[in-house]
Amino acid sequence: MASWTGIRKKYFGMDPVSTRPIRLKLLVFLILLAFVAVGIRITYFAIDPGQNSVSSPTNNLKKVFNRGDILDRNGVLLASNLPAYSIYAHPKEIDKDKVDDFLDALEAIDPPIYFDRDREKQKLLSDKNFAWIHKRISPDQSQKVNQITIKGIYTGEREVRVYPNGRLAAHVLGGTSFGEEHVNKAEIIGVAGVEKYFNNLLNNNDSSRTDLELSIDIRAQQILTEMLCLGIDEFNALGGSAILMNVHTGEIISLVSIPDFDPNRRDEFITTDAKGADDNKCINDSKNSNDGKKLDPLFNMVTQGIYELGSTFKIFSAAMALDKNHYQRDSIISTRPIEIMGKQFKDYRNHHEMTVMEAVARSKNTAAIRMALVIGNQAQRKFLMDLGFDKKSDVQLHESSSPLVPSEKNWNDLTLATVSFGHGMSITPLHLASAYAILVNGGYKVYPTLLRANGIEQGERVISPNTSKDVVSLLLNVVENGTARDSRIEGYLVGGKTGTSEKVGADGKYLEDRNFVIFASVFSGEKPNYSLVVMLDEASTGDGSDYERQAGHTVVPLTGEIIARLGPVLDVVPENQSPESNILASK
């Protein structure tokens, strides 16, 4: 048997003895090379341990849920995201004979997928390269669609926005729609409400997801919505609105406008005849507004609607006169008829002299005019502008309107007179709630906000603390002895001012038999923390006579009920109890 040394010598002519040093050097070189290779590999591992692109958990979370959540002031989820699917087709690839079978199978899916059969059939029979069939189906439905075997139909993953509380806070949240759409991803964009206002913040792609914490309290929102619905039903009104505000911070605790809509399916409410209002239980279908149309459910009456808010303005005239020391609460003022620029103003009855307090409680137009007259045109205008009536509210909603204010040039004595009792100038209920907040919070300006505040940011002073105190006592007296007696509640001291304003017809004239009733209230006690404005559109206790359409008989008792229900939720302790000894205990 030939040895390895013999083979090498025979076939390769190598002498094992003479080549030994070379072989040894080669071996040492190879070993060194191996060491270097191993060293390089170890260094490589050390430098880049994640070379197989295992992404971090944060990135993955971001991939699944892109848009930030919206929460109420107590952390309750108001808007969030869910995984969903779309159905899309490549019509060119589809066997046209199978289109009907596919649509039959699609219709048979449970839970049902709603679609327009004729429209989708037309799309599938066309020779287009691409067509959307449905943009929002659940993962369960998607699984069932995938079980239908037809070439050219596909499903793609995407994210959808959901509002688990349904209609609650619909006008605050607004809604979303799809922006740029791909088969496996769709951008969500806000189209109304805070979803629109904070769209960039919620869709922030640069950093981690940002959630939005609102000032809204969903429990208060539910109470206001439920009670407003009851009021609309009870008084056969067309609709209504309400806003609850913290008078110190300007935080909007609740904002309701009825008819409302479901933000989960906002698109269905965008119709010319506002058919979406039909499925709102608290709206009476048989009643139409003066132009025969139903109210638009997408219209936010609190921030978009501008109205002449009637007698609720009289407290501003009183506040001005008290602040400038022209009158005191107990000063005597005449309520006899008064003529301004050839036009006579008078009240229905009681044309005698009375105190300012009594005049406000009895809602005397002539007293309001006299108090405004001593202030003068420009001072009156400036005061109202200081209350924030000069511009759109700062609230974080694109759906907000500017007040209708006569120009400085046209602000004459007649304007002064009409504005003093709430006519000739239109503002939103939000403006009114903010103004009442200023009057009772010590006189500081507040900036309405839908974001949860971290503390009180003191605004500039509009009236003195003493005037503010006097205004609170005037408002409390209206409820105790005046036109708002039906809002009295055991334990809570409510203050407020009623208002009635006639609606304007298509010809621009006032409609005497159709009006808005408003009650702007503050509670509780001599240092109120909340202002609440409730408004009903064409409310009546009976057949619609003047008496039955008054605020005192409609919106006032409704507000009383609302405050009684809101108190425990807002931790407002009844006046006869001390905060330390109180408990919320069922009796």
Partner: protein, 103 residues
């Protein structure tokens, strides 16, 4: 280089190579495990989100209110109002508990 030195070098090289290979394999296994865990976490996050939304939907104040109205005869539950406020002294056994504390 002497034979023993060479053998030591060789053994060290082989050992290092073998060790590196094991570390490499373990690293890959851990990486796959991490990837799986991330996938599971992602699924759980999604499930959690769905559950949270369901929870909010089922406990939303409107739904609760409707339930209490439907079951009023059975439960007699009504929304809290100003009348539900009371003094802590009115709680049953309050006096007894105060006496116990004093003792």
């Amino acid at each position: 280089m002497s034979w023993p030195a060479f053998l030591i070098w060789l053994c060290l090289t082989l050992l290092l190579g073998f060790g590196t290979n094991i570390v490499n394999q373990q690293t890959n296994e851990v990486k796959h495990e991490v990837a799986k865990l991330i996938e599971v976490k992602e699924l759980n996050d999604e499930k959690l989100q769905i559950l949270e939304i369901q929870w909010v939907h089922l406990t939303n104040p409107k739904f609760i209110r409707e339930l209490t109205l439907e079951n009023y005869d059975l439960l007699g539950m009504a929304p809290g109002t100003n009348f539900n406020y009371g003094s802590i002294e009115e709680l049953p056994y309050y006096e007894e508990s105060q006496n116990d504390e004093n003792q």
